[in-house]
Amino acid sequence: MNTYTVVGDKSVLGHEPGETFQADIPIAQEERLIARGAIEPGPGNTPLADPDESVDRSPRDGDEEPFSAELAERENNDAGDDAGERNEL
């Protein structure tokens, strides 16, 4: 959890002005709260991932396979095998 102080004149996340509190605030929301002068971050805070960025990024149907040396080697071997089969025919 990170530490913040309410520096504006309105409550933030249920905390009164002047109050210091601990919370896990997503980066985008933290940036907006700081930009409008609602909170100040405490020292040593570590950024929290944005919820939108924490969605599953695993490949889906239709996605291109990520390149890897292992994959390239396997494709080369497959190509070689195919060529061999064609030669046999």
Partner: protein
């Protein structure tokens, strides 16, 4: 809780308490009516389809730093999602003071409206932006 008069509703937009600038709130969560009437019935039959969530708040506009415009305009301009929290009263969430939480997007923002001699007010319709819809928390 019994019958009650709305005098102290809590409206928190993107983490900031804007209750003092809100004069009405509506938590709407309609579901699609999907017809499933088959032959042989005298009555139409409906199934409940996809649910929707819209929370509408009437605001008094305020252009002071950190206030209404400063809160709503950035999320409207960016199209980012943000948390919206509504409670019947400003007391902590409980079984008799349920908290309605929604990850919202703002698709329409009217920064200035009103006539001569009137307070500058506008309605903001916050739309659901998450698969969880409107979550009701009691603690």
């Amino acid at each position: 809780m019994g019958k009650f008069v709305l005098k102290d509703a809590y409206v928190e937009v993107d983490g900031t308490d804007l209750s003092n600038f809100a004069s009405s709130v509506t938590v709407g969560q309609p579901a699609d009516e999907v017809e499933a009437t088959g032959f042989g019935s005298d009555y139409r039959e409906f199934l409940q389809g996809l649910k929707d969530g819209t929370i509408t708040v009437a605001f008094f506009q305020d252009f002071d730093a950190g206030s209404v415009h400063d809160t709503l305009n950035p999320v409207y301009q960016s199209g980012d999602t943000f948390p919206l929290v509504i409670r019947p009263t400003s007391a902590a969430a409980s079984a008799t003071n349920p908290e309605f939480q929604m990850t919202a997007r703002l698709f329409d923002y009217t920064p200035l409206a009103g006539g001569v001699g009137e307070a500058a007010t506008f309605d903001a319709a916050f739309r659901n932006a998450d698969q969880t819809g409107i979550v009701v928390a009691t603690s």
